[in-house]
Structures are given as structure tokens and as C-alpha cells.
Amino acid sequence: GIEETICTMRLKENINDPARADIYTPEVGRLTTLNSLNLPILKWLQLSVEKGVLYKNALVLPHWNLNSHSIIYGCKGKGQVQVVDNFGNRVFDGEVREGQMLVVPQNFAVVKRAREERFEWISFKTNDRAMTSPLAGRTSVLGGMPEEVLANAFQISREDARKIKFNNQQTTLTSGESSHHMRDDA
């Protein structure tokens, strides 16, 4: 019965189609994920993939990869990337251009931003159900903590703790431009 299972298994999937995006914000960008839930062979390989597109000035909110490494390959344009290790040291601060590869180790914090042009990349992840934990935005790790914990941790007022938790209500992707306006309001 192997032909009924392995031989006919789906091995191919197109990740470029914008209509397939899992996360999409107009004029900011999109992310499409391929993991063992939508391509079951990846469970065997214990790998997954993410395709990302960022428009001008947009950014992927800072986050860490919870259970995998992430190997980024620049597909089109260039993006500014910063990676921070467990000592708080910036171990990468530069551009990833088309054709270049960057390894972001598990648990290292990373932020990506498109500057004056659109940036497209693909991330290979070493877990078939790779997970990220955002540092900012509506679903961020700080958003899940009590105001009082943030106020004491950072020596800020409760009002400022609320701003940290609630000012950016976007998840994953955000527009750098609009934040300048919001910053003035904050």
C-alpha cells in the first residue's frame, strides 16, 4: 500500500501567489507560510518555509523564532535586518540583498525593514511547525504581561506601560511611515 501513501504524496506547493497569503496588510506586506499542516511531507522533513514581501518603509515587528532556526534568502530588493543575541549584542546589522543568505539562530531576536524599495525574501525554518514570538504589536510577549510588571521592569509609569502594550495593535507587519504620525500622538 505504499503507493497509496508515499508515492502519491503531495510534494509541491507554490508559495508566491499573493492570494494565498496568511498575513496581509495592504501597502505594508504579506507573509505566506508552508508547514506540515498545509504540506504534510514537511512533517517528515521537520522543515517549513515562509515567504515574505515588505513594501517601502514597512517592517516585520521584532520577534524571535521559538522552536527553529531561520535561514533567510533575499529574493528581490533589499531589506535592513538586525539580529540580537542573548547578551543583547547586535550580531547582525546590515542589508540582506537579492541572492544573499543570512542565518538567524533559534531564540535570537530579529527585525526586518524595507527602506526605499520593496523587499522579498524566503525563510527556511528547521521545524515543521515553526513558531515565532513577537516582541511588539497586539500579540506581543509584553502585551501578555500585566501593566504593573512592565512598569516595575522598565521603571516606567502605568500610562507608559499601557502605551507599550496597546499603542501598536498590528500583528507581525507594520508600517514604518504611519508610526511616525502615531508617535507624535503618543
Binding site: 521559538l66 531576536a109 513558531m131 500579540t139 500585566p146 501593566e147 516595575n152 521603571q155 502594550k165 496597546f166
Partner: protein
Amino acid sequence: QQQDECQIDRLDALEPDNRVEYEAGTVEAWDPNHEQFRCAGVALVRHTIQPNGLLLPQYSNAPQLIYVVQGEGMTGISYPGCPETYQAPQQGRQQGQSGRFQDRHQKIRRFRRGDIIAIPAGVAHWCYNEGNSPVVTVTLLDVSNSQNQLDRTPRKFHLAGNPKDVFQQQQQHQSRGRNLFSGFDTELLAEAFQVDERLIKQLKSEDNRGGIVKVKDDELRVIRPSRSQSERGSESEEESEDEKRRWGQRDN
């Protein structure tokens, strides 16, 4: 595991090798490079949190099991994607507010002597000592676990404060530690959080309090059920029946 890592001629009972003192507690670590720990693929650390002390949010590259040796307190474990199910009651609706700025956060768990707390790799947590005596915990980090795809070096990633790396040898960690935010551009973080750069500088925690800090106001005020509500027995059931009657509720 490399070959010969478990060729041990003699075993010893070991005391911690390294100790770091903070504003409201201490962290002690056993040398993770000791052959016994390398053989087992684990690292160990002991936290002592003084009353009203807060162990700042952090995560590790390895899954952790924490044993509470003494004391009592509360801990918050932030799983990415989980909802903030502890919510303050909505206020000010009549003033035209949507309740956006009422606090809400993920579940908080109480702990006491004898408890084991399990924390997956990469999941952030914080701890607060709400008792009158120090909280002492012993934590095992399973660095050889498949959840850790980095090497076998135990790593703590700090989301706040400026703690030193307790697993590094004394001479290597003289300088002040840094949290994750201190590694990013201030301007980039201001865009990500949509706050002003003054507040981002606070996130970078350039102070001398370390990784366990004293809570202002002598108490950490968070949203949670009161102890009397959660621990009272039949008395509270009767009380809740009264409550139901008062609010006109009936069991379906």
C-alpha cells in the same frame, strides 16, 4: 552528545560555582561545563528572590523544570498567540471609552513550596515573591532536549533589566548585561511599538538593578482571583449560590 562525555571516574556532590547579586535577590549557577552536567546534557541554576522581588521576564534556549524549594509567589508565562484572559472590568463606557486601555494579560499562576513549574524552550516567564520569606527555586535546563536546536550552552534571553550571564565564568561577566531591546536601534523599536524614543530608552534598562528588582509600592498589583475565592471550599459554593440567586441566575 560527543564521545567520551560520560567517561567519568568519580562523581561529586557540587555546590554552585557562580553567584550574581541583584537589587532584590541572587542567582547562582553550577558550571555547565562540569563533566557531570555535560554527560547529562543539563544546566542548573538557583534563584533566591527576596520578598517583594520580581524576577524580570526572560526565556531560555532549553525547556526548564523549576522546583520551588521554599516560599510562595506568582508567575506569568507568556505563550505566543494565547489570549489575555485576565481582564480588568470595563470602565468609562459612559465616557465614550472603549475600554482599550483597561489592563489585560495572560493567566497568572500561584506557586508555593514543593511546586514544579514546567516552561517550554523559548517561552518567556517572570516570577514575583509575594510572601514574607525569600523564594528559593532550583531550575533544570535540559540543553540536550530536541526543543533546543542551538548548541549545548545554556542561554538566557532577557526581555528587561540588565542581568549578567550567570553561566559565564566570573572574569568574563564583570560588565553589566544587556537585554534584547538594548541590541536594536532605538528608532526601529519606536516604529515597532509606536511610542516615542524616550520610552524605548527605558526599555533598554540602562540602570543597575540587574535581573531581580524590587517592586515599587510594596506590592505587585495584577488582575487575578483572590486567594480566598480560589481556596475556600463548600463555604464559597454556598456563597456562589447566594450570588446566583441575587443575580437571578439558574443552572440550565
